[in-house]
Amino acid sequence: MGGEKDLEQLKREAAAKAKEAAKKRQAEKAAAEAGGTREPVKEESEKATPANEEDDLAKKKAAAVAKAKAAAAAKKAAMQQGAEGEAPGNEEDDLAKKKAAAVAKAKAAAAAKKAAMQQDTAGEAPGNEEDDLAKKKAAAVAKAKAAAAAKKAAMQQDAEGEAPGNEEDDLAKKKAAAVAKAKAAAAAKAKAAAGGAGAGDDEKAKAIAAAKAKAAAAAKAKAAGSAKTGGDAEPDETAKPSINQPFLDKYTKVIEKHLGEGVLEESYINKLSKDVPTLVAKRDSYFKVAEFLKYNEQLSFDYLSEIHGTDFETHMEVYVHFYSYKNSQSVALKVKINRDQPEIESLQPLWEGANWPECEAYDLLGIKFTGHPNLNRIMLGEDWVGHPMRKDYEPYDVEV
């Protein structure tokens, strides 16, 4: 009995929640529309409300279907916009009222955000004035973007009101978003093509773009990724030097003053690694530099945080990370060594902490640290064949 009652109550609560969500949605749409059709929204909420009271599941299903439809319609509309550069989309009058309402909604939302988005795209794409076609494309991109954004906003709203039953909805929205994205990429590509070769044919350009949309998207992502590194390497450095630049300058200056020029192969700020000053020592002066880093009063890197080797196929590299508790500063020291006969002085006499890590590097990479008191195969044992962390390692098994 009690359980049933609970169920009843839960149902009622869920209905109330759904009602609230519907209301919220309505309010949001009304705000976005500013003079658009209000009726369809009302209708939808009215449709949803009685359904709630009867059956939670049925309501959710209905809502999900409605949303999926709306998303699909929006997608269609966005596509049409992309193709024509205008916004008709009213041809679906004969379709279900729900669907039409959804289209209107999506469009209204898109329109609301269009202005802002256009500003964005104008800022992003300076080559707009060149071509009429390009302008149209930009508008299409803006619309697609706006639609995606609107959808996302709606999605978030929905998620608050009703967590389950969203899956269908989500899928449709994601699809729509993906299409919009592909569209944007295609437009960008087409624009580039138009600007570069002057190929004016709209459809042809689009066909090419569609075929290459995926590639474009990938390229874009890549560019975005590499922009960070590439940007760091050249223009950024001149624009704003790292806060660690003075430290790096100091280290190189002091080292070169005491140990002579040419002990360092290069020195740079590693922007990827929290701007750590990085010194690359020459093979022959590696130990000298390390010793100097520890005992020089100005540097006093008393703490060895990490030492390991890497097989870069062209060469082996030993990477050491030091820290100075006195100066609260880090420095990375690297040295490149011959891959075929990897041999380097051990830092164990300077830092006891280098003892085991050097054994590990010897074990896994075969780097011989001369001057190490007890270089052994610390992980794998002395009878292991080969050094696994080397890139050309082949596992050896007697039974195979």
Binding site: S273, Y319, M379
Partner: protein, 366 residues
């Protein structure tokens, strides 16, 4: 006069007080240790080699199995390394969830240490108390991530799961409870004469030695170095919390005990503030590409795990797998000082010294 001969004594690899598979070969003269040679590698699984064929997200479960007592910090360090390389901004809510998970894990880790350490040196009941409280934390982390120990919770750019309903409240309730229990712990153990005799002045080293041996974490702070990466090189959102870095200057097992116990309280402080500041809503995962690729180059980041400084080095050639992945594992570095500490010690102190370093063999062997 009693004549004694030098003798070899083999401890481990299967020995309960090593908390894993760890072997020490002792050269003893009577009861005095002349020389100790640790033998490790029994648990080496080649994580770094495996990782070269895995995408970054796929590596995360492997990090769970390194320091399995505190997997959250391991999860974090690899995510943090990739995020640093990519220049990713992690959403605030995700950062709070991460910090709470890591601090809960830190408390759990120190509880395991406390319980097992006392078990090692002869007190059985603290273990039961410690594991009672730890179980509550483990359950909370289970609710959060779906696993009790191998969480696989964090992702590059955020976390995998949002906090379930009522989880934050549970954490909030746990904090005063744990404080109360901690008082009980101190009543039970701290200051107990037998215990003090076992730990005071045992396994002592100086500040210079600690730094020279690359010790970190409580093993370093017990010599008076006020150094905690959460405070000195703040990562995540640790700069928003008000907490202290407990230090002690004894440099012995007793000092390490004090530091760890005080650290539990500091972690609770952080948790308290995190619960207070926890953003009501927001994303838990940043916008990251489906396939995560770290930009070409290399990075080394280090964070504070319960055992010390855990670091992650990534060399990337821009592909979706790391070209080279290397973990700086605090237990591995901390254990190096053991032969030095054991030399000349009474054999009965072996366990008290080893236990006070607080190693996890999964991490030692990588």
């Amino acid at each position: 006069m009693i004549r004694t001969e030098e003798m070899l004594l083999n401890v481990g690899p299967q020995h309960p007080s090593t908390h894993g598979v760890f072997r020490i070969v002792l050269k003893i003269d009577g009861e005095i240790i002349k020389e100790a040679t640790p033998v490790i590698g029994y648990l080496h699984r080649g994580t770094e080699k495996i990782a070269e064929d895995l995408q970054y997200t796929q590596i995360i479960p492997y990090t769970d199995r390194m320091d399995y007592i505190s997997a959250m910090t391991n999860n974090y360090v690899i995510c943090h390394a990739v995020e640093t390389m990519m220049g990713l901004e992690v959403p605030e809510r995700a950062e709070y969830l991460r910090v709470m998970a890591m601090e809960l894990n830190r408390v759990a880790s120190h509880l395991v240490w406390w319980g097992t350490y006392l078990l090692d040196i002869g007190a059985v009941s603290p273990f039961l108390y410690a594991f009672r409280e730890r179980e509550m934390i483990v359950n909370m982390l289970n609710e959060l991530s779906g696993a009790r120990l191998t969480f696989n919770y964090m992702r590059v750019g955020g976390v995998k799961w949002d906090a379930p309903e009522g989880w934050i409240e549970k954490v909030a309730e746990f904090i005063p409870y744990m404080r109360e229990q901690l008082k009980g712990y101190h009543q039970l153990v701290t200051g107990n004469e037998i215990f003090m005799n076992r730990v005071k002045g045992v396994g002592r080293y100086t500040k210079a030695e600690a730094i020279n041996y690359s010790l970190s974490g409580p093993n370093l702070r017990c010599t008076g170095v006020k150094w905690d990466l959460r405070k000195n090189e703040p990562y995540s959102i640790y700069d928003r919390f008000d907490f202290d870095v407990p230090v002690s200057d004894g440099g012995d097992a007793w000092a390490r005990y004090q530091v760890r116990m005080a650290e539990i309280e500091e972690s609770l402080k952080i948790l308290e503030q995190a619960v207070e500041q926890f953003p009501k809503e927001g994303a838990i995962l940043a916008k990251v590409p489906k396939i995560i690729k770290a930009p070409k180059g290399e990075a080394f980041v280090r964070i504070e795990s319960p055992r010390g400084e855990i670091g992650c080095y990534i060399a990337s050639d821009g592909k979706k797998e790391p070209y080279r992945l290397k973990f700086r594992r605090p237990s591995f570095y901390n254990l190096q000082i053991l032969p030095k500490l054991l030399k000349g010690e009474n054999i009965a102190n072996l366990i008290a010294i080893l236990g006070a370093i607080d190693i996890v063999l999964g991490e030692v062997d990588g």
